[in-house]
């Protein structure tokens, strides 16, 4: 079961015995986790914490060093890594070394980017169990009665069940029952302290746990095994085959792998519902989105699917927001034409999906964005692609998803993240955050109104000055070279113009359909992508720049993930528009 990647990752350097014990225990607890790709939390992050938090003893001990006057002095720290989904069931424990003055301690989980000047549980995407009153806080300033209080000497455990997205706590080895349900993914172990003298020690597996988590894991393994065993199987084998074939075929058609779908249909002696040309059209639009040329994608959609965007104003708005983002980074054709460095390349439209190697070029483009390379994100060249492949040949071939013979838009985002992670580790020994895109995950939710309620808390809670400060520092650190609209002035003018239009559209939608926090959020995301904007903010009409959600730090590969998800969204809408109304446009 042991993953070879994890093994090599651990065994690279000679480790002290306690490290070895930790690695062994983690491997035993989470055999399915590939630690090379998704490292497990092993300590608190010295970077991802509030100033009032002090770390010691190998970043496992947390103490409070603020004034502790009131809740504004609360401070939290997150673990170095989020909990990998492959854990299935994840568990860590925190020992209360000292309850300090008042014992206002919170133990829990939070997404990346959640304000650290707070106790876990007070904000959206943050969850905590507090020692002073024993209440659980589920993204809210008011707690619910949950369990007993805890104090000096107690060991509090937190178990995240990623199978049913719940969480329960333990106290001194006793399970306290479910605290949270419907948890989002990619949460970090988090603790928060609020009064002087509070000290807690974390156990991410360094020591045996007080609670018998392995017994709990055994129960779930047995549960899942019996579910599989009990799954009703149709009498005839043929039914299974048909179902599987349909599944494969519809997947291929949905994602526009036209030739593969045709070949598959031929071999399996089935038929494809949709016509080839229609698949190709959708594929073309998808590729435009993935390449960041959203403006063209919108045009193509309007041309090929008249009326579709008019019926989906939310989708149109989402696309336009993205277009704005692409304009800002100089990828969209509306601003690209201003840039001398990157002429509009009509020929990059894939004439046919059979020309699959083209994907390689897009791939390397993403690759370069994933690593902190200079901003010529649209200057995609085949040489670059070759370079990156030859540089780490073994890695590319070992990556299961990026086989060059069958590139696909889905593989595309996967292979991107894999490559970037691996290459980072090769290129630098510093433990750089490889996937700091957690906040973007929210944006991936489709704007169909599901998330509307839950996002409201975030808006307007913070003072703008505060945020500006932290923004600037972090932005300057991480990306000094990137330039607005590729540095072209005319393009910038066009972008500002577009930004205003977008704001107008938003207001119009707001009038017609009521307030949509998701839209507001998208505008914000569009804004905060750009480091330069923080500086240029003063030059812009203020209405254009809504307050940025605190803590969002969408860099690097996250852009591309957003493109991917947008592409999937658009593609899904197009696909279903075909299936529901039979008048498929040519």
């Amino acid at each position: 079961m042991a993953d070879p990647g994890a093994g090599s990752w651990d065994g690279g350097l000679p480790c002290p015995p306690e490290e070895q014990e930790l690695s062994q225990r983690l491997r035993r607890l989470y055999p399915a986790v590939n630690q090379a790709e998704t490292p497990l939390p092993r300590s608190w992050s010295p970077k991802d914490k509030y100033n009032y938090i002090g770390l010691s003893q190998g970043n496992l001990r947390v103490h409070y060093k603020g004034h502790g006057k009131n809740h504004k002095d609360a401070a939290s720290v997150r673990a170095t890594h989020p909990i990998p989904a492959a854990c299935g069931i994840y568990y860590f424990e925190v020992k209360i070394v000292s309850k300090g003055r008042d014992g206002y301690m919170g133990i829990g989980l939070s997404a990346q980017g959640v304000n650290m000047n707070r106790l876990p549980g007070w904000d959206k995407h943050s969850y905590g169990y507090h020692g002073d009153d024993g209440h659980s806080f589920c993204s809210s300033g008011t707690g619910q009665p949950y369990g007993p209080t805890f104090t000096t000497g107690d060991v509090i455990g937190c178990c995240v069940n990623l199978i049913n997205n719940t969480c329960f706590y333990t106290k001194n080895g006793h399970s306290l029952g479910i605290a949270f349900t419907d948890l989002p993914s990619n949460l970090y172990p988090t603790v928060g302290l609020q009064t002087p003298g509070e000290i807690v020690d974390a156990n991410f597996g360094q020591q045996p746990f007080v609670f018998d988590i392995e017994d709990y894991m055994r129960e779930w393994r047995a549960k899942i095994q019996s579910t599989i065993k009990r799954f009703p199987v149709g009498d005839r084998l043929g039914e299974w085959q048909t179902m599987l074939q349909n599944m494969v075929s519809s997947y291929l058609v949905h994602h526009g792998y036209c030739s593969t779908a045709t070949a598959f249909a031929r071999v399996t002696d089935t038929t494809i519902q949709e016509e080839q040309i229609s698949i190709k059209n959708r594929q073309r639009i998808q590729k435009l989105v993935l390449a960041g040329r959203v403006g063209e994608a919108i045009e193509a959609t309007q041309q090929l699917y008249p009326g579709l965007l008019e019926h989906n104003p939310n989708l149109l708005f989402t696309l336009k927001c993205r277009q704005f983002v692409e304009m800002v980074n100089g990828t969209d054709s509306e601003v690209r034409c201003f840039s001398a460095r990157s002429p509009k390349s009509q020929d990059s439209y894939p004439a046919s999906p059979s020309l699959s190697p083209r994907h390689g070029s897009t791939n390397s483009h993403i690759h370069s964005a994933g690593v902190d390379s200079p901003s010529c994100s649209n200057g995609v060249t085949s040489t670059k692609s070759k370079q990156s492949h030859s540089k780490y040949p073994a890695l590319t071939s070992s990556s299961s998803s990026s086989s060059s013979s069958s590139p696909s838009s889905v593989n595309y985002s996967e292979s991107n993240s894999t490559d970037s992670t691996k290459s980072q580790q090769h290129s630098s020994t510093s433990n750089q955050e490889t996937s700091d895109s957690e906040m973007e995950m929210e944006a991936e939710h489709y704007p169909n109104g599901v998330l509307e309620n839950s996002t409201r808390i975030m808006n307007g809670t913070y003072k703008q000055e505060e945020i500006l400060q932290t923004d600037e520092s972090s932005m300057e650190d991480s990306c000094p070279q990137r330039q607005l609209c590729g540095g072209n002035h005319a393009a910038t003018e066009r972008m500002i113009q577009f930004g205003r239009e977008l704001q107008t559209l938003s207001e119009q939608l707001c009038r017609e359909y009521g307030k949509n926090t998701m839209h507001k959020k998208m505008l914000q995301v569009g804004l905060c992508l750009q480091p330069e904007l923080a500086h240029s903010r003063s030059r812009m009409p203020s209405a254009c720049w809504p307050t940025r959600t605190p803590g969002t730090a969408p860099w690097g590969s996250s852009w591309i993930q957003f493109r991917g998800s947008l592409c999937a969204l658009l593609s899904t809408v197009l696909y279903w528009s075909l299936r529901t109304c039979q008048s498929s446009p040519r």
Partner: protein, 669 residues
């Protein structure tokens, strides 16, 4: 006999038919004698040593199938003396035949109509069964199953609880356990826990749970038994693992629970705290079957009953307290409409679920005030108890009372929720014509409701409690006598004259003296306590002494002369002190030289408590401001009290010393 020759063939057909068709099986025991004859014939054939083994085996199989039918079938078979015949069959050398006989015996002994005693009538049977344990996995399975059904303590949950002062132990239980134990059951069955057959492991485990229940001897032995290098408790804990079948988890949790309650495992042992308790809490969860939830809650109630630390842990584990409130939601409203079968199932278990939940609440709230508060704050808790008190099922009523009793130990709850929900009303109703079992708990709850700070005291009095309690003091059942007199004692505390008079009238002097000569020290103490409470405040003292003075003085003399412990004598001296506080009542002491000599004696007693109590009497008698104090002082001086007071004023005991000095000052004034 012609048909007999054909039997081998017909038998096998018959056994298949009988196993599959209950209808046919039942018809075999038709009132029509012709048909019953078939069963008798089978038994006859089975006994014939001359019949072929195959034929005899088939007979046993068919009889086994018949026993699977209704209870009437089993009764008919028992009437034909099937058990001795089958036990005889076990002596055969043929394993197949033995297995068939055992299977049939198993079926018969697991029926509720079969008396367990039948297994023990012949002393040779148990050793022979022990010997057969090594023969095959089937003999192992059936024999273990027979054992675990034949030393069962029926209704253990109602006798296991310490809260009922007189455990109604089943007379046969311990005997059976001891018989099996003495024949090496522990050693013979222990190794079956590592059998490859799940059924054998399971039956062996069940056997141990039955053997260990309330049996320190068996439990202490089990702790040290080794199987394949592992101690038995370790093996039980392994069987508790969450991926094991629920039945196995539940039964091994029972074994560990019983061993713990029998004193073989400490209550703070990690096996109990971190393994057994959490496993039992899990059994109470919604995911489990109704039967499992009932058993889990009952076993947990038993485990934590007497240990406050375990109660605290259970109360925070997996939201147990709110989880239990789901036990009251059967039959659920949905099931009634959509699914008749489900409704039937729900109804069948609804009573069991409720009584189990009440029982567990009672254990949880037995000692800790915070837990009681949490329980009462559970949704509709008081309403549920009140409803439970008037349910038709006696089991539910009993555990509802038990729960109420546990919660009534809280002063705060007595003053608030108990009053808000007028729990005394249904409680008084329960006390009318209830069986002793219920009466014991209900009356001790009533004791708490009659405490002087309880607002329920008044309405309870008005609803005729005195009469009821007085009748309880005449009960054969010791616990009821104690509770009855205890409640009266509480009632008399700082009560008004009318209530005191009612109590005295209700109780009658004869009964009062009957209680004062009760063999049980508890009854005596509470009766003295009642007297003491009756004899408080001067007008009451004089009033009562004027009517009952003679008898009371007699009783006091009797007790002071008798062989009683210090507490009893102290209480009695306190009564004297109270009498000495009366105005006219004083004379009853002053004119009784015998009593005066006794007081003098206790002033020089070796026990400081008794000295102090005697001193109270003297103080009350010589108090200056009262009429006739001079004469009393003189008389007491004459009998040498003053000398003793002087001696006591030098005492090292500060209390005594103070008291003596104050008394001497009365003489000086």
């Amino acid at each position: 006999m012609a048909c007999v020759l054909e039997t081998p063939l017909r038998m096998s057909v018959l056994s298949e038919v009988t196993a599959s068709s209950r209808h046919y099986v039942d018809r075999l025991f038709d009132p029509d004698p012709q048909k019953v004859l078939q069963g008798v014939m089978l038994l006859y054939l089975l006994q014939q040593e001359t019949s072929s083994t195959e034929l005899r085996t088939e007979c046993a199989v068919v009889l086994g199938s018949l026993a699977m039918g209704t209870e009437n079938n089993v009764k008919s078979l028992l009437d034909c003396h099937i058990i001795p015949i089958l036990l005889q069959g076990l002596l055969s050398p043929e394993l197949k035949f033995i297995e068939a006989c055992l299977r049939c015996l198993r079926t018969i002994f697991t029926s509720p109509v079969t008396p367990e005693e039948l297994l023990y009538t012949d002393a040779a049977v148990i050793p022979h069964l022990m010997a057969l344990l090594s023969r095959s996995r089937y003999t192992q399975e059936y024999i273990c199953q027979i054992f675990s059904h034949c030393c069962k303590l029926r209704h253990w949950h109602s006798c296991g609880f310490k809260s009922s002062p007189q455990p109604l132990l089943c007379a046969n239980g311990p005997d059976h356990q001891t018989i099996l134990f003495n024949h090496g059951a522990v050693q013979n069955i222990a190794h079956l826990l590592s059998s490859t057959s799940y059924k054998v492991r399971m039956q062996a485990l069940k056997c141990f749970s039955v053997l260990a229940f309330e049996n320190p001897q068996v439990s202490m032995t089990l702790v040290n038994v080794l199987v394949d290098g592992e101690l038995l408790p370790q093996i039980f804990v392994k069987m508790l693992q969450r991926d094991k079948p629920i039945e196995m988890q539940l039964t091994s949790a029972k074994c560990l629970t019983y061993m713990c309650r029998a004193g073989a495992i400490r209550t703070d042992d990690n096996y109990i705290v971190l393994k057994t308790l959490p496993a039992l809490v899990r059994m109470c969860s919604k995911e489990r079957l109704l039967e499992e939830r009932v058993e889990g809650a009952e076993t947990l109630a038993y485990l934590i009953e007497t240990d406050v630390e375990l109660q605290r842990i259970a109360s925070i584990t997996d939201h147990l307290i709110s989880m239990l409130s789901d036990y009251f939601k059967y039959p659920s409203s949905v099931s009634a409409i959509t699914d008749i079968k489900r409704l039937d199932h729900d109804l069948k278990h609804a009573h069991e679920l409720r009584q189990a939940a009440f029982k567990l609440y009672a254990s949880l709230g037995a000692n800790d005030e915070d837990i009681r508060k949490k329980i009462i704050e559970t949704e509709n808790m008081m309403d549920r108890i009140v409803n439970g008190l008037s349910e038709s099922s006696i089991k539910v009523r009993l555990s509802a009372v038990r729960c109420l009793h546990s919660l009534s130990r809280s002063v705060q709850q007595l003053r608030t929720s108990f009053q808000d929900h007028a729990v005394w009303k249904p409680l008084m109703k329960v006390l009318q014509n209830a069986p002793d079992e219920v009466l014991v708990v209900a009356s001790s709850t009533l004791c708490n409701l009659l405490l002087e700070f309880s607002p329920s005291k008044e309405p309870i009095l008005e609803s005729g409690a005195i009469e009821l309690l007085c009748s309880l003091t005449q009960s054969e059942n010791l616990a009821l006598r104690v509770n009855g007199i205890w409640a009266l004692m509480n009632m008399a505390f700082q009560a008004e004259q009318k209530i005191k008079a009612d109590i005295l009238r209700g109780l009658s002097t004869e009964q009062l003296f009957q209680l004062l000569s009760d063999s049980d020290v508890n009854v005596l103490m509470k009766t003295l306590g009642l007297l003491r409470n009756l004899l408080s405040t001067r007008p009451h003292i004089d009033q009562i002494m004027s009517t009952h003075g003679k008898q009371i003085m007699q009783a006091v003399t009797l007790i002071l002369e008798g062989e009683h412990n210090i507490e009893v004598k102290e209480q009695t001296l306190c009564i004297l002190a109270n009498i000495a506080d009366g105005t006219t009542a004083k004379e009853l002491i002053m004119t009784n030289d015998d009593i005066l000599q006794k007081i003098k004696y206790y002033m020089s007693h070796s026990n400081a408590k008794l000295q102090l109590a005697a001193m109270f009497c003297i103080s009350n008698l010589i108090w200056n401001e009262e009429e006739g104090s001079q004469e009393r002082q003189d008389k007491l001086r004459d009998i040498g009290i003053v000398d003793i007071l002087h001696k006591l004023s030098q005492s090292s005991d500060p209390n005594l010393c103070d008291k003596a000095k104050t008394a001497l000052q009365q003489y000086l004034a």
